[in-house]
Subunit: 337 residues, 2 copies
Amino acid sequence: MSKIKVLSNEDVKKIINLDIAIKAVERAYKQKSNNKGSVWPIVFYEYEHNVFDLDIRSGNLVDSNAYGLKMISYNENNPSKNLPVVNATALVFNDKTGEPLALLNALSITSYRTGAAAALAAKYLAKKNSKNLLIIGSGNIAKYSVAATLHLIPTIENVYIYNARRKLDEKELLAFKEAVNQLLIASNSNLTANFMLVDDIRKITGSSDIIITATPSDKAIIDSSWVLPGTHFSCMGAGLVGKQEIDEKLFSRAKVFADDKKLCLEQGEAQTAYKKKIISSFDGELGDVLLGTNAGRSSDNDITIFDSVGLFLQDLATSIELIEEANRKKIGVEIEL
Amino acid sequence: MSKIKVLSNEDVKKIINLDIAIKAVERAYKQKSNNKGSVWPIVFYEYEHNVFDLDIRSGNLVDSNAYGLKMISYNENNPSKNLPVVNATALVFNDKTGEPLALLNALSITSYRTGAAAALAAKYLAKKNSKNLLIIGSGNIAKYSVAATLHLIPTIENVYIYNARRKLDEKELLAFKEAVNQLLIASNSNLTANFMLVDDIRKITGSSDIIITATPSDKAIIDSSWVLPGTHFSCMGAGLVGKQEIDEKLFSRAKVFADDKKLCLEQGEAQTAYKKKIISSFDGELGDVLLGTNAGRSSDNDITIFDSVGLFLQDLATSIELIEEANRKKIGVEIEL
């Protein structure tokens, strides 16, 4: 018998903000690069291809004194039942005893930690004084990625939004902007950037300092020939075999960083470039750049790519922050297990 | 937001009994053999060899409308902190939507489902009218295995208890018997068998109809030359690379059944026989025998071996039974997640 803390999605939303997520994700990546965090094999199961699948991700963080797992499922049939497409549930354990510490609804955590990763990569790998941000995708992860990036990089003046499957309208643009605004307000930040729809993706790609991809695409949306030297990419959409968002030829022109080298070669944005032998390895992991053991970008002419499959370590570090904050604020319930 | 059921170990103990576990494990094995259950890859992590390790087992059962996972850890340092050596936590999900349904303390479930498996194998693979049962090991799994086997096979008259590491005394024998008695009482069963300590393991092996092994051993305790035709083995202790309880040469004389063929060759009792090319495959899975698609034992002279690594499907089927019973009896709590 032990007591565990339970944080529902409502509880998590009362506590979490961009600062908490960014700080936690930075800590997770650094521990990983310091050999103080390990990523355990992903369990994947598919009930129906591209309709209903799930995975179990797990791992440990030494300095956070914890290990754990997240079960995350994606089910396209859910909205017709008034249920969320994604369900995410995390368990956190004490790494000295094995006792369960907490159960968390990890839905919001997943959005925040993914946005935080996109932003951290942009902050550390993009050119200084970046002004133009292009976001490919207009869903949840796109909103959190833009908000976290604006929060971390105040020089950004223009945000361009592009959906490769259909043309967005002005109403959707405003809704997107308002969602980002709310995320920034919750983190005591102001929205000053202009938000615009993309008419000519080729032209906007060429004028972007930072491009974030956050789509479920399985073919390249951005052609290598459109990309000018100096551009940074945070590729957040891949994470399954068969996924791709940017032209694999870009990898031969870029410095490429992974969240996890092994997983990214298998199922990240780099998988096609790797299969076609355009690259054989990465320049490093983002954690190395955060630690300063890898210089990252060497000049304003480098093209940089951050390839993220998404690590449970991000959720774990964020969960630990949330548990501590929930205890301080007396949020959530404690149950006997 | 969804409501999930939480069953603590105390809640589970109010509901679970040998009948529930045996029925559930039988259903799990049958579904697996009917291609209605899948066993997903095991995640294993070791903090300190033979001192603190953990694994994540997971899978789904179609007819139980569920999938899920169990995090189980083993920590030899815990008793000195007044904590249990084993911690086990299970999550169950709806297999149509991906919503979390329940969180369970899976400690008692693990003991019951393992005992149920040992007993089911003995019932279906041992000779009719078996009288003598030898249990190798005197810990928790040994007690549950003996109780479930006595419950399912009323012809058993004698139970011999053997601990390979140290000689047990009469007090320990009585405590073991009383633990078995309590498990039988909770399932409306009577204890009629005699309980005895083993003086001469070689002799008792030769006179046993059923031998159950339930130890953490990494070398053979039972020599093949001691074993007479007709004996049945339920090997419950293996489940990690490097484990072994019975002489690998026995496999060349026996009909061998697995809970999961692939996992048993890798990390079950059969691993050494497989590595030494004494066997290349199994005669079937226990589920095939339960379904009647495999005849199992063909004569009273067969030696039969059931090799069990332990499947999450056993925990899942048991958990589903417990959740339904808990809802009927209004046991456990419901929490917002």
